[in-house]
Symmetry: C2
Subunit: 672 residues, 2 copies
Amino acid sequence: MSAADRQAMLSDVQDAPRVAAIPATLSRRVIVEDVRPRVDDGRFPIKRTAGERVRVVASLFADGHAQLAGVVQYGPDGSGGAGRAEVPLSPSSPGTDQWSAEFTVGAPGWWEYRIVAWIDPFRSWLHDLAAKARAGVAAGLEPLEGAMIIRAAAARAGEIGEGADDANALLASADAVSGAGDAGAALAAAMGDRLARLMFAHADRTRATTSRSYRVWVDRERARFGAWYEMFPRSAGPDPSRSGTFDDARALLPRIADLGFDVLYLPPIHPIGVSHRKGPNNTLATRPGDPGSPWAIGGEAGGHTAIDPGLGTLDDFRRFRKAAGRLGLEIALDLAFQCSPDHPWVREHPDWFRHRPDGSIRYAENPPKRYQDIYPLDFESDDWPALWEALRRVTVFWIEQGVRIFRVDNPHTKTLGFWEWLIARIQGAFPDVVFLAEAFTRPAVMHHLAKAGFTQSYTYFTWRNTKDELTGYFTELAASGAREYLRPNLFANTPDILHAYLQTGGRAAFQARLLLAATLGASFGIYSGFELAEGRAVPGTEEYADSEKYQFRKWPWSRPGHIEELIAKVNAIRRRHRALQFDDTLRFHATDNPQLIAYSKRAPDGSDLLLMIVNLDPRQLQQGYVDASFVEADAFVARDLIDDARYWWRRGWNYVRLDPEVAQGHILQIRP
Amino acid sequence: MSAADRQAMLSDVQDAPRVAAIPATLSRRVIVEDVRPRVDDGRFPIKRTAGERVRVVASLFADGHAQLAGVVQYGPDGSGGAGRAEVPLSPSSPGTDQWSAEFTVGAPGWWEYRIVAWIDPFRSWLHDLAAKARAGVAAGLEPLEGAMIIRAAAARAGEIGEGADDANALLASADAVSGAGDAGAALAAAMGDRLARLMFAHADRTRATTSRSYRVWVDRERARFGAWYEMFPRSAGPDPSRSGTFDDARALLPRIADLGFDVLYLPPIHPIGVSHRKGPNNTLATRPGDPGSPWAIGGEAGGHTAIDPGLGTLDDFRRFRKAAGRLGLEIALDLAFQCSPDHPWVREHPDWFRHRPDGSIRYAENPPKRYQDIYPLDFESDDWPALWEALRRVTVFWIEQGVRIFRVDNPHTKTLGFWEWLIARIQGAFPDVVFLAEAFTRPAVMHHLAKAGFTQSYTYFTWRNTKDELTGYFTELAASGAREYLRPNLFANTPDILHAYLQTGGRAAFQARLLLAATLGASFGIYSGFELAEGRAVPGTEEYADSEKYQFRKWPWSRPGHIEELIAKVNAIRRRHRALQFDDTLRFHATDNPQLIAYSKRAPDGSDLLLMIVNLDPRQLQQGYVDASFVEADAFVARDLIDDARYWWRRGWNYVRLDPEVAQGHILQIRP
């Protein structure tokens, strides 16, 4: 500010008022602060599935001691201010200025919510009148003032239809209040639910404060709850020396459906490059007939929108998808946005790849590791908008083929903003599309991908095996604001991850991990072979021996030692019990044995309460006491939904023994 | 989306790319999240005083494993992007993606800060090369690639002046790198501080990510640090039957200056209404000559810009202010935006007040209490912009008289947005103006007022007297984000609050509270009479007996039992020791006696470490052990700055005894 401006400011004391500069919002008396939930200051939406509730909390206050009122307005995005639904806010706890309200979201798509709050002169008047009545102060003008407030509401209610009825009722109340002889009588005339409801309905909101809007992305139910099964269709053939086809894989569908799975996820089904193709067990040398890694996408037969000729044709895929659908299995495809050196894009769009000083294309590296069979796409290419658009078209192509679930390979190695754009673009047209992020990386990046739009996220679950690890990790996921946007999908194994616990623990280890995955997570998955307790690894690694990533396999389904009955049982329990279909009610409970983990889940409406207890030791019987003091009844029946055994328990500590020879865990339904 | 739109989306798979819709910001690879400090998602500024530091922390990450670099840009608001200063960000701790940097703010006014971060191809290349060198992988094209990256920086450095020197140095490095025979030699040629500095200085920021800007309000030092003294100038006269004058009060200034105070705060100095004037001890009946409450502002002689005739004239006030200034005492005035029934505005602007059904103006109430001598202003009046502007002019009027500090009476009973507007408007022209909020109300409202612009805030300090109360309250103020915007001013008493602890504890209680206020708070204050250990109250209340609010008083300065020496001593220590001039280094330390409280403060540069120990029991000697394990040295000297006693202490627990007959507390300077 210059000296002249300063002088002008001083001298304008004598000037006429200059009022244009006062923003009218500052004249609104109610302050709305700290609206929750909100993600990154409202930069990203919270997530829900259709029919789920949103509990909105905020700090509401004003100057003085006037009484406040307010609502949460909510509705599908674009529904506009006037057409929105409303739910009244209530004070949460005295002295904190915290208010809250709950609403339920409907159909998938964008929703939003905001707070509108105002000074309530009627309740302020009632409050002051009550204080005066208690103190025995004579009511002077108070009845008249109350009547004026009520009459103003009658005027707002209007003169026609329902409004006129309300206005008449309000005018009658106003007369009764103004005719009251003392504070007590005025109070008596002004109390009552009907008048309170009418005064709320016809409140003066002309000076109300409106918060900014916060967004909710609403998904269909499968985004929240589902059992996933991963398989390589090329291993479905009768002969491990050549590729199984979609028609072969079709024959396996009834078995997978009978196991109770909801989603069938296929690794990439596209033509595979031949240049630098990897041989069995990730060797650099290939023999004729070695199929290569399905993630080395693109060859003579096409790229990301083509079908590997070994699997069949696009028609075969469509038939396979439909057959799965008839059995209740939804197909999930892999979006692996990278190319083999033989991908058509390498010729057609060389500028979508990074080049080295000798003109060659840069292959994937994580120094000192090299992946010569993979060319990463250059998301910073000068032609990036065309590349991004091409990748969107790939996605839309598979949507055209009826696919609505995508497992995204390594999203954390592509420009993160790309995903925010792609997912918003796709879901804007197809709100039922689900994206699962396979990003095993640092927490900040995993969380950002979830905020940016991924429906679900792979987690560190495979590497959390002890009670402390599991409790710590799931407490962290549930407690932080992350549950508003990050939905874990607990894969118990993947083609890349066969944890030492499974390699060495035998069948009981698979049972334990299945129970944990299926009950800790509303979404969970296994990769085929898990049901066979397949634990053979490349020594010293988490890689499967003779991994399907590099060769055809023929699995001996139902070989002795399999755990298919347990899987089918647990998946059936998951479908019947809403407690297992949500993540946010998880609570851990104390046990006196570090090998016994116990946790409960409730259905959101509280109707269904399950207590899970798992023996984490796959080698021997473990026994101990579990703290069931979270159950409200003094005595209750705990029925094991797996084997139908019944236990008569008391509130407090109860005895449990779990013998790997008999059962690795309980799923107990608690009923008083 | 309609069915037609949906079909269009599907069919555009075959169309030419439509790229206009991709926001370019999404193509930036670095993500900047959770920039701190920020208040209410950046809605409000953080606060600092000139010369203070701001430590900016944020989460920075990108896809893949590229190396990042970034800066905090900062400067006075309006300095523009290019002209801002920069400080490089450094990673805070491995694996967390947290980065931080510190800068120092300068002159009072608006400042801002933001983060700019980018992918660093040079350090990414170095990092990968080092991994390859460690693994003994042959360097193929790597030296050439490194040289290209360095040459690109040289091109950016430019061809003239300093840029040309940098470019030449870069080109020489590029030649050395490209000529290297192996990874190790390339690495050796690419390491070194100078090259790192040049590569950072000439980094390619064309694809950098820029965060939003966050604001800092910078105040002068007095906003953070000062000792306040409150007095009623009308009590300065020789005769308690009539008003003392500014000239009388001028005679008291040397005593107050000698006590070491910085700010002299006067309750309202304006004409006082006669209608419903309150008598001594808040009685409804007045006798002739009763002066009434100075907060009942406005009478025949004028309103908020007039001087109470009993005190003198505006010229007398100016003389008084200047005399105080010469002694190092800055005058603070009271902004009490309310009117007596005799205020000129009641006639001139009846629409600035609320009217009752009988046409009368509504007086202040907090049912069932009534304040008939006060008319609140109606901040929601239809004419509110003119009222707000008039109040701004009142403020500017006193600024014209040289006043730069205002204590604001009950700001929480006026529209909160009014203060945000008023303070921004005033400080925009006069950044040296300080506003102290006297809002004894609920935490949410107190915090909002601080966020909205108040420089300092009265606190609950007067009601926090036990060790648990004090520790809990100050831990809360320091630990939460509140320290970014709320500066406590710890008044030990006020004309309204004489706590039971002081009423009953005698001289030692005053000593204890003085020590606590002056060392727990960089800003603190006392209301006159405190130095005399004046503890007479209206029984059963916190009101002073014969309160100056309603009558003239003549104080017997230096009466036996006063604590003036201690006050002068402590204020002198505060001026010498920067540790006591800041609030954010406060730490509490354990003692084994609940009557002994111990806490330390450090100067921001760590140079000055003080340990305070106070005996909270004013009645008897207390002894015990204090945990001094926060001191890094094994043995050290603790010198009491009050009585110059020296103690030879060890790290760990040390013995302390404090006898009210001798000393109520220590201010120990810790030196190894």
